[in-house]
């Protein structure tokens, strides 16, 4: 029963998201360098952190799937990756908007986190064609899990590599907001992470519940049509 606990979770999400928005626009101070544009930071970075954690969670569910053979873990892995791709799209778009507003270009190669994220995003986009080109359901689940594990391990290595590459040629530009944040900004940022995490988990459960309903319906149809 994937929808168990979904209602309190949704309510919590609404409350935290509302609090977060209020904090961003009414509480957090204005940034000295970037002015009002810096507010994008509070949506872009929490989204990125949650998306990356979602990818890694997909890998962890995949490990549990392979070790136990329980296919429900594979579904959880798939939906986590699916949600992370959706959140990832938001990360890239908000990142581009921020780059345009702050530095005049829609894309900057100087920012290692954004570049790493693009590579990770491109990799995980291949999850769908891989998964849906395998017809046998058992094999589909197993191969998807193998991919999720390899890709999950890839995420930290990729971030380390890109960071190493960029720090030689370009100074790190976005880190000034991360380094010495005043308390109010830090609080808003943390609430933002909580808000995005709750949003992720709520949508994840929602999607799982819907998938499960479809699967049960298929089961029911098979039984009814078999004996008809």
């Amino acid at each position: 029963m994937y929808s168990k606990g979904l209602k309190p979770l949704s309510i919590a999400t609404v409350v935290v998201v509302a609090t977060w928005l209020a904090l961003v626009f009414f509480y957090a101070p204005l940034d000295a360098d970037q002015g009002f544009v810096q507010k994008i930071f509070y949506v872009h970075v929490p989204l990125a952190i949650v998306a990356l954690c979602g990818f890694v969670a997909g890998g962890i569910f995949a490990i549990r799937h392979l070790r136990s053979g329980d296919r429900s873990y594979d579904v959880k892995s798939y939906v986590a990756i699916h949600m992370s791709i959706i959140f990832g799209t938001a990360v890239l778009i908000t990142g581009a908007i921020w780059a345009k507003a702050a530095w005049g270009h829609w894309w900057v190669w100087d920012e290692p986190v954004l570049v790493s994220f693009l590579v990770v995003f491109l990799l995980y986009c291949v999850y769908y064609p891989l998964r849906f080109s395998i017809e046998d359901p058992d094999r589909q689940a197993r191969y998807s899990s193998v991919f999720a594990i390899a890709a999950g391990a890839f995420v930290p290595i990729n971030f380390a590599a890109v960071r190493m590459a960029e720090s030689f040629t370009h100074p790190r530009v976005l880190s000034q907001t991360g380094g010495s944040m005043p308390g109010e900004m830090r609080l808003t940022f943390l609430v933002g992470i909580l808000a995005m995490t709750l949003l992720f988990v709520t949508l994840w459960k929602f999607e799982l519940s819907s998938k499960n309903a479809s699967m049960q319906l298929k089961r029911l149809r098979r039984r009814l049509e078999a004996t008809a």
Binding site: G35, H44, T89, G104
Partner: protein, 69 residues
């Protein structure tokens, strides 16, 4: 680059938050489509189950064409 004036900056910030909101709403729309499909399926299956009930009462007579001894 110097900080943008508030009216210009506002458009970009609004754009970023609107992106998030739009994605969530698009997701809701997709889920709405899924739910209506589930509802249709469920109704179909309920009809299927209903239709079967009356048939099951007389299988012997129908199938063999001979009176049951």
């Amino acid at each position: 680059m110097p900080a943008l004036p508030l009216d210009e900056a506002g458009k970009y910030v609004a754009g970023a938050y609107v992106v998030l909101f739009t994605l969530v709403v698009v997701y809701i729309a997709i889920m709405a489509a899924k739910i209506s499909r589930i509802e249709r399926e469920l109704t179909d299956l309920a009809d299927l189950a209903d239709k079967r009930e009356p048939d099951e009462r007389e299988p012997e007579i129908e199938r063999d064409g001979e009176p049951v001894a």
